[in-house]
């Protein structure tokens, strides 16, 4: 009896463990116009992240494309 109860409890516990806690949907962000504008400003930190993102995701041949400096060359 005791053993059956323990097994039953373990089974229930397993089911609970397998079921992830659902995060409530909640409310969307509530940003004022000024906050929305501020959020859209591209900062130095954003640029550094975008540089990394480009290097990680552009085709290998173009990893350093955006590191271009001005040149008089080209035809």
């Amino acid at each position: 009896m005791g053993s059956r109860s323990a097994n039953s409890a373990r089974a229930e516990g397993g089911a609970v463990m397998a079921e992830k806690k659902k995060v409530p949907l909640g409310a969307p962000l509530s940003l004022t116009n000024a906050e929305l504008t501020d959020a859209a400003v591209v900062t130095e930190e954003d640029i550094e992240q975008a540089k990394k993102f480009w290097r990680e995701n552009a085709p290998e041949k173009f990893w350093n494309l955006l590191d271009a400096e001005t040149t008089e060359e080209g035809e």
Binding site: L25, P28, L31, V42, Q49, L65, T70, G74, E75
Partner: protein, 214 residues
């Protein structure tokens, strides 16, 4: 991996190994890979929302981060790279990002009030944000071409693509004053649009176009 330079007069990247210009469509192809990664991230974030693993506010924040990354890279790629971006260019980019944030805010509100159900359509709509950086690339490029004296533009349809009616009509208009054709993303195909623009100006009595070679 070649090194690249930026020729300001031509408004073109240069492959410094070959000395040849890099075409705008090649640059955009490179950007497509970056945008695709961004779209995959947006899809993953949206799937987390559908699985109730994150809240709506967390989803919105994650989407905003991805939007900014993609549009920042798109702007720099259109403008000759990081070193050529001025404060004015970043300001222009910020305004385009803000527009995307406004769209996203409406989208989030629709989810919150039930107008947009928590279903697969969210993934479809999220994907449009991943594609929107293409519009930023073309808008920045138009700005650059205008600064370089180009005064006419025409829409080039995607080769072998299933172009929408709006894009076909825009392309049929041929050469028009720069800035007067609809921007990328304004037709029925929305941000999925893969059209490009070509620019030209009259120099010494002859048309000079923005066409280049690899």
């Amino acid at each position: 991996m070649p090194d690249y330079g930026w020729n300001e007069n031509a408004g073109r990247y240069v492959n410094l190994d070959t000395g040849r210009f890099v075409s705008s469509s090649t640059v955009r192809d490179a950007l497509e890979s970056v945008m695709e990664s961004s779209a995959i991230n947006m899809n993953a974030i949206s799937q987390q929302l559908l699985n109730s693993e994150i809240s709506l506010a967390q989803w919105q924040t994650g989407m905003m981060n991805e939007i900014k990354l993609a549009h920042t890279a798109a702007a720099a790629s259109a403008n000759g790279g990081w070193a050529q971006m001025t404060q004015s260019d970043w300001g222009f980019t910020g305004r385009l990002i803000r527009t995307q944030y406004e769209h996203l805010e409406r989208f989030a509100n629709q989810i919150a009030n039930g107008e947009q159900a928590l279903n697969g359509q969210i993934l479809f709509r999220a994907d449009l944000y991943g594609q929107a950086a293409r519009g930023t690339y073309e808008s920045q490029r138009q700005r650059l071409e205008a600064a370089n004296g180009m005064n006419e533009e025409r829409r080039i349809l995607e080769k072998d693509g299933a172009n929408c009616q709006g894009c076909l009509e825009q392309a049929e208009l041929g050469w028009q004053p720069i800035g007067t054709l609809d921007p990328i993303g304004a037709e029925e195909c929305l941000t999925n649009c893969r059209c490009e623009f070509e620019y030209r100006k009259i120099e010494d009595g002859e048309f000079v176009t923005s066409d280049e070679q690899e």
